[in-house]
C-alpha cells in the first residue's frame, strides 16, 4: 500500500545554476555495505543529485569498483566532489578530471583544512572557486557556517553555497541554527546544507531554517537500516520545506486551549 503526496504544494522547484532539480535531497554514495544497498537507499531517498568521488582505478583488482557500473548517469545527476584535496591546486585538478568524464561541468568543491575535523580551508576554497568559476564550472562550495566566507563564495562565482550542519560523518546535527539562518537570509544563490545530518529530525529542522536543500551521506549509509532511513530523510526534507513555507504558529509561554471556553455545562 502507498499514498499520494501532493508535491504540488511546493510550487517552486529547486533551481541551481539555471538547472531545475526534482528533489531537495542530495545524497552521497560512500560507506555503503554493498552497491545493492547503496542503490536501494538512493532509490528510497528520491534524490536526483548523487555525489561521487574521483579516485585512481585500482589496477590490482580484477573486479573494478567504478560506481558507474551501478549508477545510471541517465537517471541521476552525477555531482563529482573533490574530497580529500587539501589545497586549491589539487581541488582544481580533481574538478577538471571529473569534468573530463563528460557528464557535466558541475563540481562539489571541497578544500579541506584539517584531517581530524575535515573542516574547509576557506582561503583555498575561495581561490579554487574563482579559478573554476572562471573556467565555466558550476561550483557548489562546501564551506563552514561563516557568513562572510559564504558571501565571498557567492562573489567568487559559486552557484550554490554549502555550509555544514556539523563535521562530515559526525551526525551531530545542526550545531548553529543561527549561523545557517543568517547565511540563508543574506545570500542570493541557493544554500544547500552539507554534512552532519544524523537523523530525520535533523534534516527537518535544517529545512525549516529556509535553506534550499540538503546533501547527506553518512546519515543514511550508517543507519542500521539505510533504506528505511533514506525514506525517512526524503519525507523529512519535504516536511521541513513545507513547514517553512506553511509558516509555523507563534510560540507562547502560556497555554491556549484548543477547545471552546464557552458552552460548558452548569452545575
Amino acid at each position: 500500500m502507498g499514498m499520494l503526496i501532493e508535491t504540488a504544494l511546493d510550487v517552486a522547484p529547486l533551481t541551481i545554476g539555471g538547472r531545475e532539480f526534482r528533489s531537495r535531497l542530495m545524497v552521497g554514495t560512500g560507506k555503503y555495505a554493498s552497491n545493492a544497498d547503496m542503490m536501494s537507499a538512493i532509490d528510497a531517498s528520491g534524490a536526483e543529485v548523487v555525489t561521487v568521488a574521483v579516485r585512481r582505478v585500482d589496477l590490482s583488482r580484477a573486479n573494478d569498483e567504478g560506481i558507474l557500473h551501478h549508477l545510471d548517469p541517465d537517471h541521476f545527476f552525477l555531482l563529482a566532489n573533490t574530497a580529500g584535496c587539501y589545497n586549491a591546486e589539487d581541488a582544481i585538478r580533481y574538478a577538471r578530471l571529473a569534468q573530463a568524464a563528460g557528464f557535466n561541468e558541475w563540481v562539489k568543491l571541497e578544500v579541506i583544512g584539517d584531517a581530524e575535523t575535515l573542516l574547509p580551508d576557506t582561503a583555498g576554497l575561495l581561490e579554487a572557486t574563482r579559478v573554476l568559476a572562471d573556467e565555466g564550472f558550476k561550483v557548489m562550495a562546501y564551506t563552514n557556517d561563516d557568513l562572510i566566507t559564504a558571501l565571498r563564495l557567492e562573489d567568487a562565482g559559486a552557484v550554490a553555497v554549502m555550509p555544514l550542519a556539523s563535521p562530515i560523518g559526525s551526525g551531530l546535527g545542526m550545531l548553529n541554527p543561527y549561523a545557517i539562518r543568517t547565511i540563508k537570509s543574506r545570500l542570493g544563490v541557493p544554500v544547500i546544507v552539507d554534512a552532519g545530518v544524523g537523523t530525520a529530525s535533523d534534516a527537518c529542522v535544517v529545512m525549516e531554517q529556509g535553506v534550499d536543500g540538503i546533501l547527506m551521506n553518512t546519515g543514511i549509509a550508517a543507519a542500521s537500516d539505510p533504506v528505511r532511513m533514506a525514506t525517512a530523510m526524503r519525507q523529512a526534507v519535504e516536511s521541513g520545506r513545507l513547514a517553512f513555507l506553511a509558516g509555523r504558529m507563534p510560540r507562547r509561554e502560556t497555554a491556549v486551549p484548543s477547545s471552546p471556553l464557552t458552552g460548558m455545562l452548569g452545575e
Partner: protein, 64 residues
C-alpha cells in the same frame, strides 16, 4: 609510472594499448598524461607513451 606504480610497457605503446592491457573500458575512466588531461578519447590509440611518463587513470567511486 601508472597510478603511482612503475610499470614496464611494450615499446611504442600508447594510452589506448595500456588501457587494453589493463582491461579497462575507456569510456568509464579519465586519463591524465604528464599532468595533462586527455579530453579526447579518440586520440588514446595514437598517443605514445615514453620512458618516465606519468599516467593517472581515474574513475568515479562512491563518495559523499
Amino acid at each position: 609510472m601508472v597510478n603511482g606504480a612503475p610499470r614496464q610497457l611494450a615499446p611504442r605503446s600508447t594510452v589506448g594499448a595500456l588501457l587494453g592491457t589493463l582491461g579497462i573500458d575507456p569510456r568509464l575512466v579519465v586519463v591524465e598524461h604528464n599532468r595533462t588531461i586527455l579530453r579526447d578519447r579518440d586520440r588514446y590509440g595514437t598517443l605514445p607513451l615514453n620512458d618516465g611518463d606519468v599516467v593517472e587513470i581515474v574513475h568515479f567511486v562512491g563518495g559523499g
